[in-house]
Symmetry: C2
Subunit: 200 residues, 2 copies
């Protein structure tokens, strides 16, 4: 059994959302599973001097256009959220909580929360909203809400962010396949060939 593909992402990242819709099928085509690894781009940006794309002069307006065009290109539903960017602690903690109980459930939590933000425009940075979304996706909403304030889960997310930085993650999505790093949904073509050929 080959190692899972590591999929690092931030819940406030449109390209992370797009990649999340495609990574499962990509992995499955090559007999792999996905390890969903939420992280906080805001913390990472402190190391790299990065900033949310939409706040950068000239690049900002292009980015918004590119989010929508890239979604159309990939045939993925997308609507720029009314509140953007958001802090992503609450949904990230729900994913870590879900993952501890059932690794396979992490994907379901990620997709429900991403969809709530990038399709339904809900502000999933709000703990009550994030927990409600988890509830509609089949999780225990009260337990999800409690997980957001659980010191152990908070600590787990901090460790995950540290681990992401240690692994060289600086953007979202960021995929690591057998130690090889790929940044961006626009590297999925390279990931596909890497998995098919064991490198190139």
């Amino acid at each position: 059994m080959s190692a899972p593909i590591e999929f690092f992402f931030d819940f406030s990242s449109p390209y992370g959302y797009l990649g999340a819709q495609k990574i499962d099928a990509l992995a499955a085509r090559h007999g792999r599973t996905v390890d969903w690894r939420p992280m906080l781009l805001g913390v990472v940006f402190k190391q790299t001097g990065g900033a949310p794309l939409t706040e950068i002069p000239i690049k900002g307006p292009y980015s918004k256009r590119d989010f929508e065009r890239s979604a159309r290109f990939h045939g993925i539903e997308f609507k720029m959220p009314p509140v953007f960017p958001i802090a992503s602690q609450a949904p990230s903690r729900i994913v870590l909580w879900a993952k501890q109980r059932d690794p396979a459930a992490a994907a379901r939590a990620v997709k429900a929360l991403y969809r709530a933000f990038f399709v339904d425009g809900l502000d999933i940075s709000k703990p009550d909203i994030a927990a409600e979304v988890a509830g509609r996706a089949g999780f225990d909403a009260a337990a999800a809400r409690a997980a957001i304030d659980d010191p152990a889960i908070k600590e787990a997310l901090k460790r995950e962010v540290d681990a992401a930085i240690a692994a060289g993650v600086f953007g979202s999505p960021f995929v690591i396949v057998d130690g090889e790093p790929f940044w961006g949904t626009d590297r999925f073509d390279q990931i596909e060939r890497w998995l098919a050929n064991g490198g190139f």
Copy 2:
């Protein structure tokens, strides 16, 4: 006759080099020609707060790996130049000079100069070296050398950089197709569909 595709690029940009090897064939598949538009990313970065990729913490080492891997992916010869990044005034002025005399010759100048930098490792920021490369590509080397110091050509490059910024260009390569902007060689798949379908 449809309008040419505008291909904005900086001579110090590895992704610009990769894109330059592919844009002619892409354009030709859709009955288009390419307008080669050299610009100076250093000036653009003053507007956006950008920096050379290789100088950004964490992102820098990834970028070097991605340049080489992306070149292999596209089957393009590439060797990280010993001096990098470089100032790109000299080769850019040669291209503008060549373009004024013969628009079709611009592509030849671009490719010869890019190859000299990203395959042969020559420091084309040096006027004498850039002119010599142009000479080997079939241009009058002495005239190319004189063009680098020609006030009218210097002025033309400044205007080109201003025009690029006015057009929203913030990276390299940057392609504009009938007013629609695409940043990066990794958007060539979208450009292909845009040209085939007249948008999407």
